[in-house]
């Protein structure tokens, strides 16, 4: 099946995309660039986000605050996209694990069936006894 073309609404809200929503009609690249999956890069972005956070609260001028928060918002979006990508990667691992959990539950289902068959065997014996009793109860009239 061909991969579904993503709509603008489905695209990652990258800083650039958020700044220019009208230009996001092209299919978005959902794969995270390798440079951004590098732990050092992520740590650097996280550190920058934190530093900008401190700067925001220390700034007294609202214009400075806006500028700082604007940059911080863009980093927030990048880091959020990275977390989405990490969660998506985990989704694939969950999908791979799912059949194993199902297999265990199936094995337990088989044990349940075996236990039911023990009960069923007793029920069958009971039915046979009932059937014999019924035949015997009409036997005198046949004699």
């Amino acid at each position: 099946m061909a991969p579904k073309k993503k709509s603008a609404a489905e695209q990652a809200p990258t800083a650039e995309g958020a700044l220019q929503p009208s230009e996001t009609s092209q299919p978005a690249e959902t794969t995270v660039p390798p440079a951004l999956t590098n732990p050092d890069t992520i740590t650097t972005y996280q550190a920058l986000y934190d530093v900008l956070g401190r700067a925001y609260w220390e700034a007294s001028d609202i214009k400075y605050k806006d500028t700082i928060q604007g940059a911080r918002d863009a980093i927030y979006e990048i880091l959020t996209d990275l977390n989405r990508a990490k969660l998506d990667a985990n989704t694939e691992l969950f999908l791979a694990l799912q059949p194993k959990v199902k297999a265990s539950n199936k094995a337990l289902g088989k044990i349940k069936e075996k236990i039911s068959s023990i009960t069923k065997n007793i029920s069958t014996a009971s039915s046979v006894i009932a059937a014999i009793a019924k035949v015997l109860s009409i036997a005198p009239s046949l004699a």
Binding site: Q20, Y49, N90, L97, L108, I111, T119, L136
Partner: protein, 308 residues
Amino acid sequence: MCHRKSLPGLVSVGLLVLAGCSLSPLAKNTAAFSSATALVVDNTRNAYRAAVRLNEQAQASLLVARFDTDHPMDPHSIRPLIDEKGLKVRTEILDGLRVYAQTIADLASGVSSPRLDEAAAACGSNLKSLSDALSSATSIGITLSSEQANGASTALKALGDFLVKREIKTSVPTVIRNMDPNVEALTKLLSSDIDILREQSDRDYEQILAQQDSFIRHAGTALSATERRAEIARLPRIVTGKSATDDMLGDLQSSINKLAVTHHALAAAATSKDTSSLQARIADLLASGENLATFYESLSSSSSKEKE
């Protein structure tokens, strides 16, 4: 006659001894593990929901902040932190884990007993009918009293119980042992998810906090003194929410890790008579799960109050 009367009774007593009358250690341990697992599963599902909702709030606050700027945000660009497919597989696998824990508990406690009781009772009753029919139809002269029929029912139940317990004793521990690496892999994955959720929640709160602060400052005198006071009062509540969420996600992560260790101990105890360490682990797991259980409810109620 006397010999015939006592035989079903003796058989039933013997089989009852074989079958055992109280809950086995496996039944007790699996039942406790099932309760603890159900708590962890509920707490984890709630954590996913809470994290996705919080992230939506953070994105909405960004949308508001950029609304009147020269680069407004397209509302369509708001995406869930975990997409539908991701939430579905996580929900299904957590449900699978819950079903697994519940089923081993049910099997170990002999949940099919009512059906077995019914079948055994019917068998005794039919034996009585058979003896009555034999007595009137033939000259054999076999008669079965109600007591003897009840004795036969009891003996059959004991035999059934014995066969069921033997099946459980041989099969269930094998399933538990085979499931152990899967539980370990699953808990590692869940723990990895929680790592991400903690990091994301921390930033989501930071974003909400900064946008709230920015809103108050930009609004200036457009807000009345009362309104301004109420909006400013929200700031420390956001900070408290951030800290509480992080603490609880940390506790949840600890519960998830304990679940793996507890299952490992369960797998070991399923074939061993020494269950003291397992019981301690289960008690620990249950306690940490219970501490978390009310947190997500308090989160929902506090977010409702925030909206009001």
